[in-house]
Symmetry: D2
Subunit: 153 residues, 4 copies
């Protein structure tokens, strides 16, 4: 599945400014009582919500919030495809680390890949991805802004 | 989808056909796997969602959908107060009957009262209420439409 | 609560009464205010919850509830893979028809396929599937009971 | 992930070091896309989930996790009453600060009070409380452990 790539925190490569790999970023969520089911494990649909947290924080750290994108650029990124593979269950009160990687598929499509690990043990819980279409305020496909494409290439 | 039958909490006045008591209506929901927690019981915040189903169906049966109200009348009814008392737990796959009663508090305030019972045994699970303010599209208080006030008095 | 009718995806074999195609069943849910997001459409993770409603009702109509299976047979069916493709958005108060088809992948694996359509217009909103592993109370893989395998073949 | 700092709602008693007021603690959550509704504001039932985050972190900082309490002491604290007053809406991507105060009502009852403020502006969004009964693994009322009572008095 998805390759775990090292997190690029800050150190900018000074030269040459050539093809870096895609950027992976991490964020953490804690499994709430509301998130678990009778088996005592995180209910499977929650990972889609946590993946959203992952990509929101990915954008935020790139200096570009989803809220601004919607409110100022008039662009939304609805999910058009989602996929999850559940490997190990996460339990109540576990802290989960979401590693998110972004990739441009086309000028109007982005894909995010995710790995959810239980922080305490580094156990890989779930892998998955989501594909998003860029839409304008009128609901029609719209090209991603140049600064975003640049960021992702 | 949801079976419901009008129930009046007060005896039917035979004549004159004036001041009836408030109208109670019933609707049903089933406890989903996503709704339960580690104790195997319905997580407490779900009752607020089910109460919303109760008042939505209350309105629908009164010939007045919340969707229309928002889209045509430009009025929304945000919750300004909510209260729940949890008496008996509901479990996975239980069918819950929500009995909803509406009451006008003022020309700009409605209150709904709820009883959630486990259908199979009639066990009273939760009681509660919500208070709602009528707001116009501009976010300012607005009087409820006359036909609504009429319906509720 | 939820009306549903059995639908067979393949024409009824007149004779011999052998190998039918997989059985498709329908159930309905309504998009709640809690389910929608800022775009006014059903948030994408809800479809995984509605798919759960679809397979629960599939089982119930087959005379076999998931609750019984867990409580009496000691078998649970955790999701090990989930996939969704989002085609058209569903909106607040839309009634959604979930068509669910079940298929045995192996003696310890079941797959359910889903179509979510907006009832009023028959618009195909989302397609998807989930794969489930049969586990015993000890958390280890366990063969599906013969009556289930029979039902699904 | 969640920053929190102990805050005392009452001035520090310098001496004698006896009866302090109840302890207030803060934790933060961010409003997710999944949490908002068509009005673009946080759906009201989410505050009950965030209040749960508030009391979980309150306990954690007191050196006593809810998970341990359930798993080692065999005590659970189901909600028996919940109340919310909604004053100002929180919006997508707002960071919310939950201030939680705990109080013993009796040897078998705890009450938590909450204030949810929008961090950026300190706007008070919602106030509320929950009351909890201490139950043993057998589902019967059970006294809170002495160290808990001590902590709360």
């Amino acid at each position: 599945m998805q390759k775990a790539r090292p997190v690029r925190s800050a150190p900018q490569p000074t030269r040459p400014p050539v093809p870096e790999g895609p950027i992976t970023r991490c964020t953490r969520v804690r499994v709430r009582y509301a998130d678990i089911d009778r088996m005592g494990i995180a209910y499977h649909s929650n990972y889609l919500v946590w993946f959203e947290v992952g990509r929101t924080e990915w954008l935020r750290e790139s200096g570009w919030t989803y809220r601004e994108m919607e409110e100022h650029d008039g662009i939304s990124l609805p999910v058009i495809e989602a996929h999850c593979e559940y490997r190990q269950p996460a339990r109540y009160d576990d802290e989960i680390e979401i590693r998110t990687t972004a990739m441009v598929l086309s000028p109007v499509r982005i894909r995010f890949d995710y790995e959810a690990r239980i922080t305490a043990t580094s156990t890989l819980a779930v892998t998955g991805y989501t594909v998003h279409a860029a839409l304008g305020a009128d609901g029609r496909p719209r090209r991603l802004p140049p600064r975003v494409l640049e960021l992702l290439q």
